[in-house]
C-alpha cells in the first residue's frame, strides 16, 4: 500500500481524450491510467501499452485442463478401476475427447477470469480509489502521478488539453481489502492534504 499524489483530468468526449493522451505522452509524462466508461478502441495503442500476457496464461491453464482430464481418466480406467464398456479399449481416446475439451475450456475460462481480476485489481470485497464518480458513467478520466515539484506544470498541461476539470488528489494507488466506503477514503485524503 502506498499513498501517492495524482493529477486528475476529466474529459467529456473521447475525441478530446485521444489528442490529450498524445500530447501528454509526447511532453514526456508517464500516464498512471485512463478510466473510460466503455472500451475505447485504439486507446491501448495510444497509451503505448504492451500486449497483455493474459492469453499465454490462458494457454497454460488450458493445457493444465487437458492434462488433468486425460491423466485422471486414464489413471482411473487403466489402473485404478479398469472396466469393459462395450468392448472398447481401456484407454478409449475418442470417448475421452469431449470431457477433455470441456475441462480444457473450464480451466482456461476460470483461470483467465481470476487472472484478469487480479491484474485489474478487481475482486468482491476489495476496494480501490475512484478518481471521479462519473468515470464509469459518461466521463473520461486521465490520471498522472505527480510530486510537489511538478504538480503545477502537470495541471497546467492537462488544463491546456481541453479537460473540463483538473485537480490534485491524494489517494491509495493499490487495492486493499475492506468495505467499499467512499467516506473512509475521503478521510484519508483529508488527513494527508
Amino acid at each position: 500500500m502506498s499513498i501517492k499524489k495524482f493529477a486528475v483530468a476529466v474529459y467529456d468526449d473521447e475525441a478530446v481524450l485521444f489528442p490529450a493522451v498524445k500530447k501528454v505522452r509526447s511532453a514526456g509524462y508517464k500516464i498512471h491510467d485512463v478510466y473510460t466508461p466503455f472500451a475505447v478502441h485504439g486507446l491501448d495503442v495510444a497509451l503505448g501499452q504492451k500486449e497483455s500476457d493474459l492469453h499465454i496464461a490462458g494457454f497454460i491453464y488450458g493445457i493444465t485442463g487437458t492434462c488433468t482430464a486425460l491423466g485422471f481418466m486414464g489413471w482411473i480406467f487403466t489402473t485404478d478401476w479398469p472396466q469393459n464398456f462395450g468392448g472398447k479399449p481401456h484407454f478409449p481416446l475418442p470417448a475421452f475427447i469431449p470431457i477433455t475439451f470441456e475441462l480444457t475450456v473450464l480451466f482456461a475460462a476460470v483461470g483467465m477470469v481470476l487472472t484478469f481480476c487480479y491484474l485489474n485489481q478487481i475482486m468482491p470485497g476489495v476496494k480501490k480509489h475512484i478518481f471521479h464518480p462519473r468515470q464509469t458513467d459518461d466521463k473520461f478520466v486521465m490520471v498522472i502521478e505527480v510530486n510537489d515539484t511538478n504538480e503545477a506544470e502537470t495541471l497546467a498541461i492537462l488544463q491546456s488539453t481541453g479537460a473540463e476539470l483538473t485537480e490534485t488528489q491524494v489517494a491509495e494507488s493499490d487495492w486493499w481489502y475492506g468495505r467499499f466506503d467512499i467516506k473512509e477514503d475521503y478521510e484519508i485524503q483529508q488527513q494527508l492534504a
Binding site: 478502441h41 485504439g42 492469453h55 472398447k88 475418442p94 469431449p98
Partner: protein, 405 residues
C-alpha cells in the same frame, strides 16, 4: 493516390498459363494411359477429375458464402478487399460448368463404378424410408444439380454486378447497398439448401451408397469455408505484395487469420462429431466407411488430413504475432488448402471402384489440381482488372479503413 487499377503482372500470367499447361498435360497423359484400360483404370481417371472439379467448385462457393455472410452481417472489414471474393464468386460458372458436365455425364452414362446407386434395381437396403430412393434417382440428381449450379453462378455474377454498379452511383446513396444485402440473404438461403445440406450428400456421400451421416454436409461445408477463406487470404497477400490494396492493413489480415484458425477448429469439431458417434455405436454398416480409411490403404491420408487441417493451423496460428505475419499466414493458407484437398481425396476415392489403388489417381489428381489452380488464378486475375480494386462508394468504406481487429 491509391493504386486502383489492377494490371495482371507478367509473372502471374506466365505462372497461371504454365500451371494450366501442366494440368492439361497431366489430363491428356492420364486419358491416354488410363481411359483405354479396364473399369478400374477408367474410374481412376474419372474419379481424380471429379475430385478436383468438386473441390475447386466448392471452395469458390465457400468464398462467395464468406462475402454474403459478412455483407448480411454488415461487416465492414471485408469491404476493403471485397473485390476478391466477388471476382472468385463471379467465376463460379466456369467451375460449375465443368463439374456439372462431369457429374451429369456419370449419371447419364450409368457409371456404376463411381455411383453404385445407378445400378438397375439398386436397393439401399439400410435406408430408413423410401425417400432415399427418390433422392438417389437420375431425375432428382439432374434436376437438383442443374438448379443449384445455375443459382450459384447467377448469384455470383449478380453480387459482383451490384457492387460494381455502386461505384458509379450517386454519392451516399444506399439503394444498391440494400439491394446487395437482399441478394446476399437470397444466396445464403440457396447455400443453406445446397452446399450446407443436400449437395455434399448427393455428389460425394452417395458414392458410398449404403453409408450415410447427417453430419457429412456440415463437415464438407467446414472444408469449403476454411479453404475459401485461405484462398481469399492468398489473394489479399499477393495484391498487397504487388503494392495494391493499401487500405488493407495488418488488422484485416489478422481477422482473416482468426477465421482460418477458428474454422479449422470448427471443421475438426464436425469431423470428430461424425467419427465419434460411429466409433462409439460400432455398427458394422457405419464403421465400414472408416475401416478402409483409418486402417486400410488410406490411413496415411487419413492421419495427414488431421495433421494438416487441425494440428498445423491450431499450433501455428495460435500466437497473435503469427496471425499478423504475412509469411506465416500465407504458409498456413497453403497448408489448409492442400489439407482439405487431401480431405476430399479420401472422401471420394475409397468408395469408388478405385478402392485401394490410390497411387495413380493421386498423381493424376496432383497434376489436374495444378491445372485448376492455374485456371482459378487466370480467371480471377482477369476479373480483378475489370473494376477498381477498392469499392469507394460503399457506405462502410470509412469504417473499413479504421478497422481494428
Amino acid at each position: 493516390m491509391l493504386k486502383q487499377e489492377f494490371k495482371v503482372p507478367k509473372s502471374l500470367k506466365t505462372t497461371s498459363i504454365v500451371l494450366m499447361m501442366i494440368g492439361l498435360l497431366g489430363l491428356i497423359i492420364g486419358a491416354v494411359v488410363l481411359l483405354p484400360g479396364d473399369a478400374l483404370a477408367q474410374t481412376q481417371f474419372w474419379a481424380s477429375l471429379m475430385h478436383n472439379a468438386i473441390f475447386f467448385l466448392l471452395i469458390s462457393v465457400g468464398s462467395l458464402f464468406i462475402l454474403s455472410a459478412t455483407s448480411l452481417a454488415q461487416g465492414a472489414w471485408i469491404v476493403s478487399f471485397r473485390r476478391i471474393p466477388e471476382s472468385i464468386g463471379s467465376m463460379i460458372y466456369v467451375f460449375a460448368a465443368i463439374a456439372g458436365v462431369l457429374l451429369l455425364s456419370f449419371v447419364w452414362t450409368n457409371n456404376t463404378n463411381i455411383y453404385a446407386w445407378l445400378q438397375d434395381g439398386f436397393n439401399p437396403h439400410n435406408s430408413l424410408n423410401a425417400l432415399k430412393n427418390i433422392f438417389l434417382s437420375k431425375g432428382f440428381f439432374t434436376f437438383w444439380t442443374i438448379l443449384v449450379l445455375v443459382l450459384w453462378s447467377w448469384l455470383g455474377v449478380k453480387l459482383r454486378e451490384i457492387s460494381i454498379k455502386q461505384d458509379t452511383d450517386t454519392k451516399n446513396s444506399t439503394k444498391l447497398y440494400w439491394r446487395n444485402f437482399n441478394f446476399s440473404a437470397g444466396f445464403l438461403f440457396v447455400f443453406a439448401l445446397s452446399l450446407a445440406s443436400t449437395i455434399p450428400w448427393l455428389w460425394i456421400m452417395s458414392i458410398d451408397s449404403h453409408w450415410f451421416s447427417t453430419m457429412f454436409s456440415w463437415y464438407t461445408f467446414g472444408s469449403s469455408f476454411v479453404s475459401g477463406m485461405s484462398m481469399i487470404m492468398l489473394w489479399v497477400l499477393y495484391l498487397k505484395r504487388k503494392g495494391y490494396l493499401d487500405v488493407v492493413s495488418e488488422e484485416h489480415v489478422h481477422d482473416l487469420g482468426k477465421f482460418m484458425f477458428a474454422f479449422s477448429i470448427f471443421w475438426t469439431y464436425l469431423w470428430f462429431s461424425q467419427f465419434m458417434l460411429i466409433w462409439y455405436a460400432n455398427i458394422p454398416e457405419e464403421t465400414v466407411y472408416f475401416q478402409i480409411r483409418m486402417h486400410g490403404p488410406y490411413r496415411f491420408f487419413y492421419w495427414l488430413n488431421l495433421i494438416l487441417n487441425f494440428v498445423c493451423p491450431i499450433l501455428i496460428l495460435m500466437p497473435r504475432p503469427n496471425k499478423r505475419n504475412y509469411f506465416v499466414v500465407s504458409l498456413v493458407a497453403v497448408i489448409i488448402i492442400f489439407g482439405h484437398w487431401i480431405d476430399f481425396f479420401q472422401m471420394i476415392m475409397p468408395g469408388t471402384t478405385v478402392k485401394e489403388n490410390w497411387d495413380k489417381p493421386f498423381i493424376l489428381s496432383l497434376f489436374i489440381a495444378c491445372g485448376f489452380v492455374g485456371l482459378i488464378i487466370y480467371l480471377v486475375a482477369n476479373k480483378l482488372t475489370k473494376a477498381p480494386l477498392i469499392p469507394q462508394n460503399n457506405p462502410l468504406f470509412k469504417e473499413t479503413i479504421i478497422h481494428i481487429s
